[in-house]
Amino acid sequence: MKKRTTILIMGICLILIALAELLSTSGLLPVWAGFILIVLTFPWFLLALMLWWKAPGGEKDLPFIGY
């Protein structure tokens, strides 16, 4: 995945997480709805963050598939 795409995913997720936090603490969004939004976005944010800072390079390999 390109770095630009990972930054885009991270940005979108971060905005959604911040929105969920702000809206649910201010009472504009039910707490459960805010939490569900975080449940859906946090894993994407975490993986995008790690894809962004991981070491570059590496090619697909064929694992041991039996004798």
Partner: protein, 279 residues
């Protein structure tokens, strides 16, 4: 909300480190520092990563996302004291992650792990009976109702002691290096995690860390009641220490032995429920 997730993530990783440290000390080794698992996740996240050529790409990555998502959801259920049924439904969803991890990569070692995961479905049997027994005493499956019941009647641990043992076994079956950890036995390399490396492994470890935090927290909440955070953490560490002792002293059981032990526990619980019903 996000602060709870980050706290649970860090505490879960720290618990994994404490778990490894205790096992090492019992076995006469110095062991890694307790924060080693936090460093592990960071290390994995910086590594070169790719998806193996034999893997189903969507499946391979999807299990990592699902693993993190379901345990964050479970954390929400515990924090907001929601339904015990929902918590255990999430526990059952975790089976999808275990199967998916093993089946998605194409490696036979991982597939062996996935097959063992099917066998270890017997660990869910004590879970169902635990739910029945908890409902028998409290008349509700909402965690806040159970906590209120305990505030009036005292810890559920005493009247529902067999259910506590059953849930203890359930948590034990999900601990690393435990007697029931057949899906990650070293004779099949790393079991269903064999081909998940780099950021995929880091993501899975993050999900598993939240899982450990949730299961320990749920045990305390269900059988001892609600506590302030510092006391809760102390109780969780005590519970974890006892689990680590079991893991250090018990060898990894054979796949069929784990089924036997877990089915026997379910049978004992059923007898206990029948006796309670008759009396």
């Amino acid at each position: 909300m996000i602060q709870y997730i980050l706290f649970a993530l860090l505490m879960g990783l720290l618990f994994h480190g404490i778990h490894r440290k205790i096992i090492a000390r019992i076995q006469g080794r110095p062991g890694p520092p307790v924060w080693q698992e936090i460093l592990h996740v960071l290390k994995f996240s910086f590594k070169q990563t790719w998806i193996p050529d034999t893997a189903s790409e969507v499946h391979f990555v999807g299990v990592v996302l699902i693993s993190i998502a379901i345990w964050i959801l479970a954390l929400g259920v515990v924090i907001y004291e929601g339904s015990l049924l929902l918590l255990f439904a999430i526990y059952l969803l975790h089976k999808i992650v275990e199967h998916g991890m093993g089946l998605s990569s194409g490696s036979p070692y991982a597939k062996f792990g996935a097959i063992r995961s099917v066998i270890s479905a017997a660990s869910e049997l004590p879970l169902f009976v635990t739910i029945i027994l908890i409902y028998f005493f409290t008349g509700s499956l909402m965690l806040n109702d159970i906590a209120q019941w305990q505030a009036i009647h005292g810890p559920l641990l005493i009247p529902a002691f067999p259910a506590a043992i059953a849930m203890y076994l359930i948590i034990l079956s999900k601990m690393h290096y435990g007697p029931f950890s057949i899906i990650e036995g070293k004779e099949i390399v790393s079991g269903n995690r064999t081909e998940h490396f780099g950021i995929w492994r880091a993501g899975l470890e993050a999900g598993f860390a939240i899982k450990t935090y949730v299961l320990l927290n749920a045990f305390i909440l269900i059988f001892l009641g609600s506590f302030s955070l510092p006391i809760l953490i102390i109780l969780m560490v005590i519970l974890l220490t006892s689990l680590s002792f079991v893991c250090a002293y018990c060898p990894l059981l054979g796949p069929y032995d784990t089924v036997t032990v877990q089915t026997l526990m379910t049978g004992i619980l059923l007898v206990y429920i029948i006796i309670l019903e008759v009396l």
